[in-house]
Symmetry: C2
Subunit: 336 residues, 2 copies
């Protein structure tokens, strides 16, 4: 086993929710790094809603994963062999590991992570892509002002929980939409949200109207579908909607449900804007600095949902779509 590199490869393009048949578990020798390359052992993999989109054919913001290729995934791990001057054996690194036990990449494709800032799984969550997405999506696209009402969907998730906490730090009234009483309680009692709406048991539109008496100034959407429509029905004048994702629509076998209430953008002179985190890559350092300082000061809580066992990847991924995960979903691949 120690000489093997097991990998999940995309075997088929799923229709609806991915099943085990959409994957092939392969096993290869652990590669040797070539000149300028680094070999790292995967410790944790990031499981993200966006992965579902990468499994589809067709143009998106990055090319799809090809059939037969190792599934794309971010991860953190430790360097086990290096032929690049910036990396030494034992260094903690993050990068595009892929769903495999070892990743051998050009050094430039790995980034050092500082385990003193936070435990390694947090580098896939609040200090990783979800944290970057929350930080730049909220601050650069949503542009909240102190006193604004900010609503976030998927609020207990990896991105949403950071969005809401940053908005609080910026002096906003914050309302989260999440599924289940455990999550809504967590948002209000632990993360300091002003209110939370349980989409599984409440009329979201009515609940948002109650929670946002002067309307929504910034809506950060991870979910789409009915929740986006409910938010559109509750916009304040000059509202900003950040389209970060639409997890409710990713496994549709029929067409995406478009937002019926989009003419609220006209009535309220509001805007809806999409964002992709990679566009802010040159500024990740700025976000990590702010986010880790807030964590150190106890003003920002990071929570990961760690599932142990590389082979559980196909089933663990599905937790994202059932809403079973509570915090950033991370697959533990090996002990540090």
């Amino acid at each position: 086993m120690t000489d093997a590199n097991r990998q999940f490869r995309l075997a088929a393009r799923p229709v609806g929710l991915p099943t085990r048949d959409d994957w092939t578990l392969t096993c290869e020798p652990i590669p040797e790094p070539g000149e300028g390359e680094v070999l790292a052992r995967t410790l944790y993999l990031s499981l993200d809603p966006a992965m579902r989109g990468w499994m589809n054919e067709g143009k998106s913001y990055i090319p799809p994963v090809g059939l037969g290729e190792v599934m794309r995934a971010g991860g953190v791990g430790r360097v086990v062999a290096s032929r690049h001057p910036d990396f030494a054996v034992g260094d903690a690194v993050s990068g595009g590991f892929g769903v495999q036990q070892y990743a051998c990449l050009p050094g430039a494709q790995f980034t050092h992570v500082d385990p003193r800032l936070a435990p390694l799984p947090t580098h896939l969550g609040t200090l990783g892509m979800p944290g970057m997405t929350a930080y730049f999506g909220l601050l650069e696209v949503g542009r909240p002002l102190p006193g604004n009402t900010v609503v976030v969907s998927g609020a207990a998730g990896a991105v949403g929980s950071v969005v809401g906490q940053i908005a609080k730090l910026k002096g906003c009234r914050v309302v989260g939409v999440a599924g289940g009483a455990d999550k809504t309680r967590y948002l209000v009692d632990e993360l300091g949200f002003d209110a939370a709406v349980d989409y599984k048991t409440e009329d979201v539109r009515a609940a948002l109207r109650r929670a946002c008496p002067s309307g929504i100034d910034v809506f950060f959407d991870n979910v789409g579908g009915d929740i986006l429509d409910a938010a559109l029905a509750t916009l304040a004048r000059h509202a900003r909607i950040v389209i970060c994702g639409a997890i409710s629509q990713y496994n549709n076998t029929t067409a995406v449900r478009g937002p019926q209430n989009y003419l609220s953008l006209l009535v309220n002179r509001a805007r809806m804007e999409g964002m992709v985190v990679f566009d802010y890559a040159s500024r990740y350092g700025e976000a990590v600095r702010d986010l880790s300082a807030w964590m150190a000061a106890g003003q920002l809580i990071a929570r990961e949902h760690v599932v142990d066992g590389f082979e559980s990847f196909p089933e663990t991924l599905l937790k994202l779509f059932s809403g079973e995960n509570f915090g950033k979903l991370v697959l533990k691949v090996a002990e540090d």
Copy 2:
């Protein structure tokens, strides 16, 4: 007849297309202006898609017309009696006349129009609300850059024809979407658009892809529905969509069709933003100056579709929704 003021009042809230039963034709004595008021005779009334929205119950960007009230409409006319120092008998004025033969309003609610700049009906089109909408919607919300590809729907209409011509003046490649060969020919041959798509006979999505090989940078939407979805499918990176109207959806008896392809905003880091012309009221003078200078230089063509006869109002209004009008739809109420 000369002492009477005939009026169309809203009798019922229409379901779908308005019918004659939704109106009452009333007749009242011509009012006497009170202190500070001005009485003007209606010469031309502006018929606009937005009027359909004003007939519905419920909050929008302005309150609905109440049942029993004279239907709201912009118009131009001549002052016939004045108790306001800024207005003299014979002055040409524009304002919220309403669908009636005489309007008696506080002087501040009328604006002088200069008949030397253009014939009176043009003051309801290119130099009126549609022109203001086109000017500020395109330049302030769409923000086209020289070399950008600008697409406009309802391109032969009062707003769309001005949008496209301004975009050409700003150095853009311009594509119009309109219904019928007469209109598409007019856009290309008379107004100088680079291309036009006939939504009645062409696959709009395929035609837009052909006409916009590098994607759409600015989409100015007056129509909604399938045409909005086709444009969303053809966006360039960082595109701007101006939501000015959605005439395809105004007479729906079922829910509005939301744009299924809205996640293209995410993929393309694009934004969709609503606009209401009244927000730019303090800057109308700037637009009239530019638009009338372009007209005088032969760089901007204004076209009105004038229908004669006050009593034809209910049927004439419907031309907007069948697409029968060709240019700004104006109802002629009386000879100047």
